[in-house]
Amino acid sequence: MMTGCRAAAEGAKSAEVEVICSFPIRPYTAIMMELAKMVANGELNAEFIHGEGEHAQLSVVLGASAAGARAYTGSSGVGVTYAMEIYSPMAGGRYPAQMSIADRTLDPPGDFGSEHTDAMSTRDQGWLLGWACSPQEVYDNTLMSYRIGEDHRVMLPQMVCQDGYFISHIPDKVTLGETSQVKEFLPPYRPISPLSLTNPVSHGPQIRPDQGAPMDAMRAQTFLAIPKVIEEATADFARIFGRKYDPFVEQYRLADADIAFFIMGAHSNTARAAVDKLRKEGVKAGMARLRWVRPWPTHQLAEALGHVKAVGVVETSTSYGGAMRGGNLIHELRASLYDLDDRPLVTSFMGGLGGETIWPADFDYMAGVLSKMVKEKRTDRYVYWLGM
């Protein structure tokens, strides 16, 4: 049994990370506390650097990655946003370091609880961005993300997210990989043109405006190529470790569902139980759980949810003033379904904000709203605020 934080640290250890940069902020701190012990005990041969802030954490791993080391960092909440300047140089420089996030509400008000707005606010910076829903998946995503990010078809930094406390601090069963399994799955980091004395290179010079669009297009192109790499890595992972994931969207009792919850992270565990209960009551409910926000699995979602009559997006992040007046995921989900001839009705439920629990009763309430939408063949609200 171990917490999500411990699982992340074990993942980093299995990946034999070489440069680690820490700064304290709850709840992700526990990852660094574990790694600090491993380095101090000689279990992990790595440089453990105490950054002077999250901006420095990312800058340190950027430098380390540019010089050819597998690098690891992490943060939570305002720590994630404090580092904002460095996300785009990391992605633009194609430095495939990893950042482990235990989500935390942004200030104000001061709050330790999980909310996805911290990591979600980096989603346009060019990183791979994925969410786990259990300590086991945290460990697995740590390895899978390095494998995908360091693939020469990708070469991008990765954010491995887990909900603060719900995942980061509640112990669950985790099976760690054998050294031989990890070796087979994750080859050593092979930088393409690292800073070197024998082969001098320049990283990050200024461009002319006319060189901008082609570079942006190349990065966009890369994101089109990533899904295949994710599929390969997920399949290889299943073969080597025996744990099988849907590469992009976990589909739970979705095949014949009339209504579905669209969700990511910790609360999906409650959603699964809620679906089982609803099914017993004769409601054809299902769940789609998002594993990657970037790259966003547009077509996979259309395929998974296209036949459903009404989808309720469970939002755990805020987009104040956004098109749907509530969270983030509904925008991209609606866009993903738009081209279907017969598309589902979609609404959203703001839940789990400030680290609040989304209770089984909340799912019953959401199912009621969705069933009513199906019956009336319409939705008159983009967003419902749970518990209010």
Binding site: A46, A56, L62, G63, P205
Partner: protein, 328 residues
């Protein structure tokens, strides 16, 4: 466990101009202004450091006017850093080479890792990252090439811009006749006073090329973090005739606006101390940035300089001088 031998470089001092290495590591083809002090400085630093070097270049003139895509002037490896984070990027690079050396992936000399940061990128917006790197004892030479302004964005005031200078953020006007009203930060003391891991700090100017190159070499031969503060006149920002760049640096020393010194293991050594200081007006006169000043402003500057030069030749008290041997 015996300490791992990282094979840090030891660079011999350059005895005379004849002995200066011919090889250039900072090549022509950049787009700096004619008479650019920081560009001249880059050339001297790179020459002294030699080929086994990696530069970290935070945003500023020495990035923007130098590094164009597919055509950069650096013959050695170079990486752009943000104006904010050069010290941290350098820390990561150093750590990567350390672990690579320990794992046997990197063999040969440990690179000279040099940050080439402007005054803004070192002691203002870059201060936190610089301080963190020094505190953590990374083997990095951090150079502040001081052109006394945020030059690249169009000459705005920075914490090293002198009192009385006109910049685009301190234009002289009816209400504020002297332009800049504040006095600058004491850059080397900022490093010396607060970073026990730093054992070598020196100041110099582009008008003292041999001194400059030897200070670079000495700094690079230390096993830990080191710092150089180098005066690099900027004709565009200071508004002087571009052929006078070295003269401006020389005048700065001759008037006491600037002093060349070394601080090594707690001991100060001053060089180029004039027998008799020239009045600061001699330095200010050729520079358009001071053209608006009235005699009372120049008198204020003279009083500031008079106070400053009292320190010359005398050790400056340091908050926490740490004996070298004990730390090693």
């Amino acid at each position: 466990m015996p300490a791992f031998d990282y094979n840090f470089q030891k660079l011999e001092p350059i005895k005379s101009f004849k002995a200066v290495p011919e090889a250039e590591q900072y090549l022509p083809g950049h787009r700096t202004c004619a008479g650019c002090g920081p560009a001249l400085n880059y050339r001297l630093v790179a020459k002294a450091a030699g080929k086994d070097t990696i530069f970290i270049g935070p945003t500023g003139c020495m990035y923007v006017a130098n590094a164009s895509y597919l055509c950069t002037p650096y013959a050695v490896s170079w990486i752009h850093a943000q104006i904010t984070n050069a010290g941290a990027v350098a820390s990561g690079i150093e750590a990567a080479f350390k672990i690579a050396a320990r794992k046997g992936r990197h063999t040969g000399p440990f690179p000279n890792i040099i940050v080439m940061a402007g005054d803004g990128g070192s002691v203002d917006i870059g201060l936190q990252a610089m301080s963190g790197m020094m505190y953590r004892n990374h083997k990095v030479l951090f150079i502040c090439y001081d052109n006394e302004s945020y030059a690249n964005t169009g000459i705005q005031t920075s914490p090293t811009t002198p009192y009385g200078a006109a910049t685009t953020f301190t234009p002289p006007g009816k209400e504020i006749p002297e332009g800049k009203t504040l006095f600058p930060k004491n850059v080397p003391q900022l490093v010396i006073g607060g970073h026990p891991a730093v054992k070598y700090v020196a100041t110099t100017t582009i008008a003292h090329p041999l001194d400059l190159m030897n200070k670079v070499r000495k700094a690079l031969s230390k096993p830990g973090p080191t710092f150089l503060h180098i005066l690099c006149p900027c004709p565009k920002g200071w508004l002087f005739d571009e052929k006078l760049t070295p003269d401006m640096a020389k005048l700065a020393v001759e008037t006491g606006m600037w002093s060349n010194y070394e601080w090594e293991d707690g001991v100060y050594k001053y060089t180029n101390v004039p027998k008799k200081y020239l009045p600061v007006g001699d330095y200010m006169k050729p520079q358009g940035r001071f053209a608006h000043l009235k005699p009372e402003h120049i008198a204020k500057m003279q009083a500031f300089v008079d106070e400053k030069i009292k320190q010359v030749q005398r050790p400056i008290p340091v908050a926490a001088a740490v004996p070298v041997k004990k730390l090693a």
